[in-house]
Symmetry: C2
Subunit: 210 residues, 2 copies
C-alpha cells in the first residue's frame, strides 16, 4: 500500500500519530519529513514560527535559545549552512527552503552561574517552533548530524553558547524525490515506546496506575 | 488594576502572550502558574498529557525522556517528591495535585554511545506535555530548584540517566493563596526578549531581514 503514497497530503495521513483522539491535533500531526518541497517560506510565516519559539518556558526565564537562519533566497548563506551537515543529511536537506542552526546559552545572564537547563530549554523552544510550523502547514526536521565545531567557527557562535540542533523547515514534498532508503523511512509509520516504559510511579520502574 | 485579579480565568487573560494573532492559541496560552487549585487531575487526563509527551521528536528516535509521577491521591509519594524541592518552591507546589520528576537517558540504546541531545530532547517532551496540559485546561510549572542528587537516590534514577526537570501540574488557582512576593510575580505580564535579540541571519548578531 505504501508504494502508492506519492503526495504530501497522503504522507500527512500516514504520519499522523497513532494515539488517542484527545491528543491535540498539532501534536498528532507534527513529524519530521525528509521530503521537502522547494516552495519558499514567506518571511511573515518564518517570523511567526520563530515568534512561537520565543514564548517557550525556560529556567529563570533566561531564554537561552538563539536561532541562526539561512534561507534559499540567500544562496551563499544556505550553502554555508548546508555544507556543515553530514552528507546523509545534505542529500535531502538541500531541497528544503530554510535551514536553522540553534545555540543555547550555558550561563545565566543575571549572575553568570552555570545554567544546567540551557540545552534543555533550547529543546522546549524547538518544540514550540515545530508545533507552530505544523499549525501553519509546514514541517521541521531537527538534526544532530552536523559539524558542531565548524558551525561554531564559521557562524561565530560564542564560547558561552552550546551549539544545539540544526533544523530544516519547509513544506512537505514528494517521497519520490528521495533515495530508496530515505523513501522507505519516509513511508513508515511513526513509532514510540509504550507509555509504561517511559512513565513510572514514585520510584524507578514502579508502575503508575493510570 | 492587577490587585483586582483573583480568579483563575482573570489570570489566564492577563497571562496570554502579548504577540501576533497567528501564534497558535495553545502556545499563547501556556504559562507557568504558582497558584494551583487543589482540584484533582483525573487519571485519564493525566494519561493523555503524558501520551502527548510520548510523541515528541528525539535524536535517532531515542525517546530519552522518563517521567516519575506522584499524585496527591498517594500522599506518601507526593510528600517524598515535595520534600526534594527547595523551600521556596515547596511553599506553592504543595497546593498542586500532581508532581513529576523527569529523567533523560545519557546514551543511545542502539549502540551505547553518548547522546548529546538527551537533555535537550527531554525539553522537547516537556514542551509537548505543557502544551497538551494547556489544551485540556491545565497548566504546568517546571522547576530546576530541587535536590537532584537526592532525587536520584530516593527515586532510584540510574546512573545512565540525567535528572531533568521537576514539574508541577494542575488547574490554576487563586493568587490570593500565595505569599505577597509570589502574588506579585503571578500578577505580572509575561515578558520575552525582542525577536531580534534571539534570531540572527547566517552569522552571529547579523540581522535576519524579516
Amino acid at each position: 500500500m505504501s508504494t502508492t503514497i506519492t503526495t504530501g497530503a497522503e504522507l500527512e495521513r500516514l504520519k499522523r500519530a497513532d494515539t488517542v483522539p484527545e491528543v491535540h491535533e498539532l501534536i498528532r500531526s507534527r513529524w519530521s519529513p525528509r521530503a521537502f518541497s522547494s516552495r519558499e517560506v514567506p518571511p511573515q510565516v518564518l517570523k511567526t514560527i520563530l515568534e512561537a519559539a520565543r514564548w517557550a518556558a525556560s529556567s529563570y526565564n533566561e531564554q537561552p535559545w538563539r536561532f541562526l537562519v539561512a534561507t534559499k533566497s540567500d544562496p551563499a548563506a544556505f550553502s554555508k549552512f548546508l555544507d556543515l551537515l553530514v552528507p546523509a543529511n545534505q542529500s535531502w536537506v538541500k531541497n528544503a527552503p530554510v535551514l536553522i542552526i540553534m545555540a543555547a546559552k550555558k550561563t545565566f545572564s543575571h549572575n553568570g552561574s552555570q545554567n544546567r537547563f540551557g540545552f534543555h530549554d533550547a529543546g522546549q523552544a524547538l518544540a514550540h517552533l515545530a508545533l507552530q510550523a505544523t499549525a501553519m502547514g509546514l514541517h521541521t526536521h531537527a538534526m544532530a548530524g552536523f559539524d558542531h565545531q565548524r558551525a561554531r567557527t564559521e557562524l561565530g557562535i560564542p564560547d558561552d553558547f552550546d551549539v544545539a540542533a540544526a533544523v530544516a523547515l519547509g513544506y512537505v514534498g514528494s517521497p519520490d524525490d528521495l533515495t530508496e532508503h530515505q523513501r522507505q523511512m519516509e513511508l513508515s509509520k511513526r513509532t514510540r515506546k509504550p507509555l509504561n516504559e517511559i512513565v513510572f510511579g514514585a520510584s524507578w520502574n514502579a508502575p503508575l496506575p493510570l
